[in-house]
C-alpha cells in the first residue's frame, strides 16, 4: 500500500473512530497500531487537533440563511445532493483493503522421518476419506452461499413492432412473460414494449441484448426508453460499468457494443453511477433536460446534448406506430401509408374513386360516383370521396356523417389524395414541385397533401389516439392554397385579373370538417392568393377529421395543397 493510500485508510479509520462507527476488531486494530507503530500516536494526536480545529472553525464561522436552508429539516437540498455527486466523483480510487489481522505464519518444511512417513500415509488414508466429506460440506456451504438461481417473471411484453429475435435468443411474443436469471434476450430488429409488475414501462429498440430483473433491466447493448411510475421508483438500468437508477422520471439509455453508454433524462431525475472496474464509481444526479455519456474505454463521464427524440417512447402493435416524442402527427405522412411520424412514402396516395392505395399520380380526370369509399389499406384513414354538393349532402365518414355546406362542383377530379407536392409531366406541363408563396411543398420538411379538386379525405381520430395512448390531440393546423406554379406552367392561366378567362381560371374552396360539421371554409381561392392558415381545437370526443377541396368552374389547374397538415398533442 502506498504511503498516500495508507494515509487515506488510516484517516478514514480515525474518522470512523470519532464517529463511534467501528466494530471491536477495528478498535483492536487501532489499539495495536497506536501501541506498536512508531509515530502512530503522534499522527493520531495531530489528526485530532486538526479535526478539532476544522470543527471549531466551521462552527465559529457558520451563520446565515444560506446555511440554515442547507441544513433545513424540511428535507435535503438540491445543493447538498449536487455537492455530494460532485464530491463523490473526486473521491479516490477504491482499492481492496488490506486485512486488519496479521497473516498466518508460513508453513515450515522439514525432512520426514520413518514415523513421519507412517503418519503421512495415515494422513493420506484419512485425507481420502475426508475428501468426500469435504466435498459434501462444500456442496452444503455452496448451496447456502450461492443458492440456486430461480427464474421469476418480471415483466410482460405488451407491444411489438416488426420485432425479430435472434436464433440464439428465446422468442417472446405479445403477452409473454420475461423471466429473471435467464440467458440474455437478443432483439435483432424492431421494437418491443415491456411492462413490469410495478407498472414501469420500457421500450427496447433493436439491435439490443438484455436481461430483466424484478427491479430493473441489464442492457448489454441497444437502446431503451423507460417510463417509471411512483411505485417503480428505484428502477435501474444496468449497463457495462454503469448503472442508472430512477428517482421518479422518464429517461432513455443507449449502449453501444463497446459498452459505452448514454443517459438522457426527459423528465425528473436519475442517479448515475459509472466507472471502470477497480476505479472509483462516479455518481451524480442527472436532471430533466440533460444527458451524460460514459466512455467505457477510459471511464470518462461527460455532459452531452440531449437526444430526446431519438428514442421510441411509445409503440403500438396494430398500427405499427412508433412515437419518439414528436409534438404533432403529420397527416400527409399518414396519407403516404405512414404512422404520422415520418414512415410514410412520398408520392403514395389513395384513389378517391376506389379507396385503394396507389403509388403513383394518376394524371387522369374522372367523375364522381357520389360514394364514400372506405380505405382498407391505411389504419388511420377512414375513407375518401369526390365531393359534389349539387347532389345534396355529402357523406364524409364511415359512420354516415353528412355535410351540406359544399358547393356544387362538376363532379370531376384529377389524380388522387397524395402525400406529396409533385405535378407530373403532362402535355405542355413539366414535372415540377408545387409552391405556395415561394415555398415548395411535398417533401419531408415541407409535407403536404396534394388534392387536385375536387376530392376529400377523412381521418379516423379515434384510431390515431389509440396509437398514442396517453397523449391528447389538442388542435389541428395546416396551410391551404393553390400552387402558384400554374402561372409558370400554363399559357392559359394569367396572374393578371384583367386577362383571366373566367372559364379556365382555377378557383375553389377548402373545407375542414369534424364529424361532418364544417370547422373551416375558405373564401374563394385562386393560385394568386396567399396560403390560408387553418387552426382549431380538437376535442377528446371528436371522431373524424375531413379535408376537402372543391373546384368551381371547369375544375382545371386546381393544384391544391393542404400544407403541413398536423394534429398537435397536448404536451408541454
Amino acid at each position: 500500500m502506498s504511503d498516500e493510500r495508507r494515509e487515506y485508510v488510516i484517516t478514514e479509520l480515525l474518522m470512523r473512530l470519532l464517529e463511534n462507527d467501528l466494530d471491536d476488531k477495528a478498535i483492536a486494530y487501532i489499539n495495536d497500531w497506536l501501541a506498536n507503530e512508531p509515530g502512530a500516536a503522534v499522527f493520531y494526536w495531530d489528526f485530532v487537533k486538526d479535526y478539532a480545529a476544522i470543527k471549531m472553525h466551521m462552527e465559529g464561522q457558520l451563520s446565515g440563511a444560506e446555511n440554515d436552508n442547507l441544513v433545513s429539516d424540511a428535507g435535503v437540498s438540491d445543493l447538498l445532493i449536487a455537492s455530494l455527486s460532485e464530491a463523490e466523483c473526486n473521491s479516490p480510487a477504491v482499492e481492496k483493503q488490506c486485512p486488519l489481522i496479521s497473516q498466518e505464519p508460513a508453513p515450515v518444511v522439514r525432512k520426514l522421518s520413518g514415523f513421519d512417513k507412517f503418519k503421512k500415509m495415515h494422513r493420506i488414508y484419512h485425507a481420502t476419506l475426508s475428501v468426500a466429506a469435504v466435498l459434501l460440506l462444500m456442496l452444503l456451504v455452496y448451496s447456502q452461499v450461492f443458492p440456486p438461481k430461480y427464474c421469476y417473471p418480471a415483466a410482460t411484453l405488451t407491444e411489438q413492432v416488426t420485432a425479430v429475435w435472434s436464433d440464439r435468443s428465446e422468442i417472446i411474443d405479445t403477452d409473454n412473460r420475461l423471466f429473471t436469471n435467464t440467458e440474455p434476450y437478443i432483439l435483432e430488429n424492431g421494437l418491443v414494449k415491456l411492462v413490469y409488475e410495478q407498472g414501469v414501462e420500457v421500450i427496447i429498440e433493436a439491435p439490443a441484448e438484455f436481461t430483466v430483473d424484478k427491479q430493473g433491466l441489464t442492457l448489454n447493448y441497444g437502446q431503451l426508453y423507460s417510463t417509471v411510475n411512483q411505485a417503480g421508483q428505484g428502477f435501474y438500468i444496468a449497463c457495462p460499468n454503469a448503472r442508472y437508477v430512477d428517482l421518479g422520471t422518464e429517461f432513455a439509455v443507449a449502449v453501444n457494443k463497446a459498452g459505452s453508454s448514454e443517459l438522457h433524462v426527459l423528465l425528473g431525475k436519475v442517479q448515475m453511477a459509472a466507472g471502470l472496474g477497480g476505479k472509483s464509481m462516479c455518481t451524480r444526479t442527472v436532471y430533466e433536460g440533460s444527458a451524460m455519456a460514459f466512455d467505457n474505454r477510459n471511464g470518462k463521464v461527460e455532459s452531452i446534448a440531449l437526444r430526446g427524440n431519438d428514442f421510441a417512447r411509445e409503440i403500438e402493435s396494430g398500427t405499427k406506430m412508433v412515437w419518439r416524442g414528436q409534438k404533432s402527427i403529420n397527416l400527409a405522412d399518414i396519407v403516404g401509408g405512414g404512422n404520422g411520424f415520418g414512415t410514410g412514402q412520398i408520392e403514395v396516395g389513395i384513389y378517391p374513386q376506389t379507396g385503394m392505395v396507389v403509388n403513383q399520380y394518376y394524371g387522369l380526370t374522372d367523375r364522381s360516383d357520389s360514394i364514400y369509399h372506405l380505405v382498407g389499406g391505411n389504419s388511420f384513414v377512414d375513407g375518401v370521396f369526390v365531393p359534389d354538393g349539387g347532389n345534396g349532402p355529402v357523406i364524409v365518414s364511415s359512420e354516415g356523417h353528412e355535410n351540406a355546406d359544399m358547393i356544387d362542383t362538376n363532379g370531376t377530379f384529377w389524380g388522387c389524395v397524395q402525400n406529396g407536392g409533385i405535378h407530373y409531366h403532362q402535355g405542355e406541363l413539366k414535372k415540377h414541385s408545387l409552391r405556395l408563396s415561394g415555398v415548395s411543398y411535398g417533401d419531408k420538411d415541407n409535407a403536404a397533401i396534394l388534392m387536385h379538386a375536387s376530392q376529400g379525405v377523412t381521418f379516423d381520430l379515434k384510431k390515431i389516439r389509440q396509437s398514442v395512448p396517453g397523449l391528447e390531440i389538442d388542435k389541428f393546423t395546416a396551410l391551404c392554397g393553390m400552387s402558384e406554379t400554374v402561372y409558370d406552367q400554363s399559357i392559359f392561366i394569367s396572374k393578371d385579373p384583367l386577362q383571366r378567362d373566367s372559364n379556365t381560371q382555377p378557383e375553389g374552396f377548402f373545407y375542414v370538417l369534424v364529424d361532418g360539421k364544417t370547422r373551416y371554409v375558405s373564401d374563394l381561392v385562386c393560385p394568386a392568393d396567399e396560403p390560408k392558415n387553418i387552426e382549431f381545437g380538437i376535442n377528446d370526443n371528436d371522431r373524424f377529421l375531413t379535408l376537402i377541396v372543391c373546384g368551381s368552374g371547369n375544375n382545371a389547374y386546381i393544384w391544391s395543397l393542404f400544407a403541413r397538415p398536423q394534429l398537435h398533442f397536448n404536451i408541454e
Binding site: 494515509e7 478514514e12 474518522m15 463511534n20 501501541a35 494526536w45 466551521m58 473521491s91
Partner: protein
C-alpha cells in the same frame, strides 16, 4: 445598557482562550465526537461553577486542564465496560504525546480558515452541512440515500486535503499545496 458582569467577562476571556485546545484534548482522549462535545460542556459548567475558587496567581489553563482530565478519567472509568476503549497503555501513550505536543491549536485554527477557502465549492458545502447541522455520517447517509462507505470516502478525501494544506502551511507558510 447593563454593565457586563466582571466575573462573566473574565471567565469568558480566559475560557475562550483555551476552549479549542481543551476540546481537542478531550476529543483525543475519549475519541468519540458526541461524547467529547458533552464532556466539554460538562467541563465548562464545572469551570464556571468553581471559577470563584480559581487562584489567579496560577495558570487558568493548567487549572482548567486539571478539571478536564478528571472528567476524562471519570468518563473512561465509568465506560470501561460499555464503550469501545483502548488499552490503558495506549491512553498513557496518548496522554504523553498530548503533553509533549506544542500548544499550536490556535495556529491550526487560523490555518484551517485559510485552507478551507481553497476547497472546491461542493466540498465546502458538504463540510458546512456536516458541521453546521452537527450530523453524523450515518445520519447524512440516511438523509441523502448515499451509502455510509461512500460518504466516509468523500469526507476522508476532504479532511486529508485540508490536513495536507494545514501541515504544509504550518511548516512553510505557503498555502499553495
Amino acid at each position: 445598557m447593563k454593565e457586563a458582569d466582571p466575573k462573566n467577562a473574565r471567565f469568558i476571556r480566559l475560557y475562550t482562550g483555551i476552549q479549542a485546545r481543551l476540546y481537542s484534548y478531550i476529543l483525543g482522549m475519549v475519541h468519540n465526537r458526541s461524547d467529547a462535545d458533552e464532556l466539554l460542556q460538562e467541563t465548562s459548567v464545572v469551570l464556571w461553577d468553581s471559577f470563584e475558587k480559581y487562584d489567579s496567581n496560577y495558570s487558568f489553563s493548567a487549572w482548567a486542564f486539571g478539571i478536564a482530565k478528571n472528567k476524562i478519567y471519570e468518563y473512561l472509568r465509568e465506560n470501561k465496560e460499555s464503550k469501545k476503549l483502548f488499552s490503558d497503555a495506549v491512553y498513557e501513550q496518548i496522554a504523553r504525546v498530548a503533553d509533549d505536543s506544542g500548544d499550536d491549536i490556535l495556529d491550526r485554527l487560523e490555518t484551517v480558515k485559510k485552507c478551507f477557502s481553497k476547497l472546491k465549492k461542493s466540498d465546502m458545502t458538504l463540510m458546512v452541512y456536516k458541521y453546521y447541522s452537527n450530523k453524523s455520517i450515518n445520519q447524512i447517509s440516511d438523509l441523502t440515500g448515499r451509502s455510509g462507505n461512500s460518504l466516509y470516502k468523500t469526507f476522508t478525501r476532504i479532511i486529508v486535503q485540508l490536513r495536507k494544506c494545514v501541515g504544509y502551511q504550518m511548516r512553510t507558510g505557503d498555502y499553495n499545496v
